[in-house]
Every structure is written in C-alpha cells, then in structure tokens.
C-alpha cells in the first residue's frame, strides 16, 4: 500500500513537472515569436535597397582611368569628326546637317 502511495505521488509530481516544463517551453516560444514579429517592423523603417534603381551602385574597384595620351587622342578624333560635320554643313547648310547627331565616342 505504501509503495502504491509513493508511486502515485511520484507519478503526480512527474506529471506536474512535465506540465511545468511544457508551460515554460511554450512561454519561451511565444516570447521568441513576439520578438521576431517585432523585428520586421524595425527593418521596415529602413527603405528596401535591393533591386531598387535608386540605390547607388558603389563599384568595388574604381573605374579605370584611360592614359592621358589616349584621352588626348579621343579629343583629337572628336574634333576631327566635328570639323567634318561642320564642313558638311558649310558645303550645304541645312538645319538637319547643323544638328546631325555625332557618332563620336568621346561624347556618346
């Protein structure tokens, strides 16, 4: 009989212990979910940057600067092309020739 009472008490304690442990676990989980549900709110205050056209793209490597000799050659080619265009206009002055688009890579 004593053994039965002891077993019953231990069983009740076990059930209570398991119930408390389960309750604690559930409380912790709900706290975590509360925190997690607040995180997106904090993130939402920051504007979305991915896939946005307005986000400036910072190159990891600075753009290559062409050597000055190449730059001067590009300017010279541009001047020659513009002179040719101006000569065409002077040979037969029309509005279209005056405002013809240049193909010079220096400005395109």
């Amino acid at each position: 009989m004593d053994m039965l009472l002891i077993g019953l008490c231990l069983g009740v304690f076990g059930v209570v212990f398991v119930a408390l442990a389960f309750g604690a676990a559930m409380h912790s989980e709900s706290w975590n979910s509360t925190v997690q549900s607040e995180l997106p709110l904090v993130k939402a205050a920051v504007p979305a940057r991915f896939f946005s056209q307005r986000v400036p793209i910072t190159p990891a490597v600075p753009p290559l600067q062409v050597p000055i000799e190449v730059l001067l050659l590009q300017i010279e080619n541009h001047v020659r092309m513009e002179q040719a265009a101006a000569e065409s206009f002077l040979a037969s002055p029309t509005h279209d020739l005056l405002h013809s688009k240049t193909t010079s890579p220096f400005v395109n």
Binding site: I75, A86, E87, T102, V107
Partner: protein
C-alpha cells in the same frame, strides 16, 4: 604648288609675292610659332602638315589639344596681318618635317602699296581663309552648345 592665298594672281604676280618670302624647314615636333608669340610673318605650307593646337587643362595639366591641321597650299599664321599681331594658336609639324614659305608682314605691306590690285586679291583670299575658319568654328561651337543644352535639359 598652288597656294590659296595667291588665288587669282597672275603667275608673275604670284612669283613676285613668293620671292618676298624665305623657305623654312620645320622639324617634326618643333613649333613653327607658339600661342602669344609676336606675329610678324605668315606662312604658306609647301610640304608636310602643320598642326594647330590650343592649351587646355586636362587632369590638372596643361596639354596642347588638337584644333586643326593644315596641308600644302594652305596658309597659317594670318595673325601677322591682323592686329594685335600675336599668334592665337600654336603650330607644329606633327610626324614629319614640314616646309613653309615665311612671308614677312612689312615686305607684304610694301608690295601691296606698290601693287594694289594684287594686294586686293590677296586680301580677298585672306578673307576667305579667315571667313571659312570663322564659319567652321561657329558651327562647331553651336553643335557643342546644343549638346550641352540637351544634357542639361535631360
């Protein structure tokens, strides 16, 4: 060799004008004249090419930027006949040496005074050279301005 400055002159008149000048070799890379130099003679190109440049600030350095290239028969250095008689460009022979005939201003003036008809023809030819340059650069300036306006309005 036909020189644009001597168009319309008789062969004898042209010969007399050319005799006023002296032939000058311009070694490759050597300036014939520099921007700001006193201009007391103009040049008729006999051989080779003369490259005209203007200084421009490029990346904090002053660089001679190409403006125009003149070839045999053409004239450079007409600032010698236009006050304040200072060159407004720098002229060099780019890759190969060039040969020019240098005509001193004072010799030309004396010739024009003694031969007004020939002087008149040369003055008209000079007006064509200067006028063409003016129209050319006026057109180029407008095209550059148009581009600037388009960029600023975009």
């Amino acid at each position: 060799m036909t020189h644009e400055l001597l168009n319309g002159l008789s062969p004898i008149e042209a010969e007399l004008v050319l005799e006023l000048g002296t032939k000058q070799i311009v070694p490759s890379g050597t300036p014939l004249f520099r921007l700001g130099d006193p201009a007391d003679r103009l040049f008729l190109i006999e051989r080779g090419r003369i490259r005209l440049t203007l200084p421009m600030q490029v990346r904090g350095r002053e660089e001679d930027v190409f403006v125009e290239e003149r070839s045999p028969g053409q004239t450079v250095g007409w600032s010698a006949l236009i006050p304040p008689y200072r060159f407004t460009l720098t002229a060099t022979a780019p890759l190969f040496e060039a040969e020019v005939i240098a005509l001193p201003r004072e010799a030309l003036r004396k010739y024009f005074a003694a031969n007004p008809e020939a002087g008149h023809k040369i003055a008209l030819n000079l007006a064509v050279v200067i006028g063409h340059r003016l129209q050319l650069f006026q057109t180029m300036w407008l095209r550059e301005m148009q581009r600037t306006v388009e960029v600023r309005s975009a």
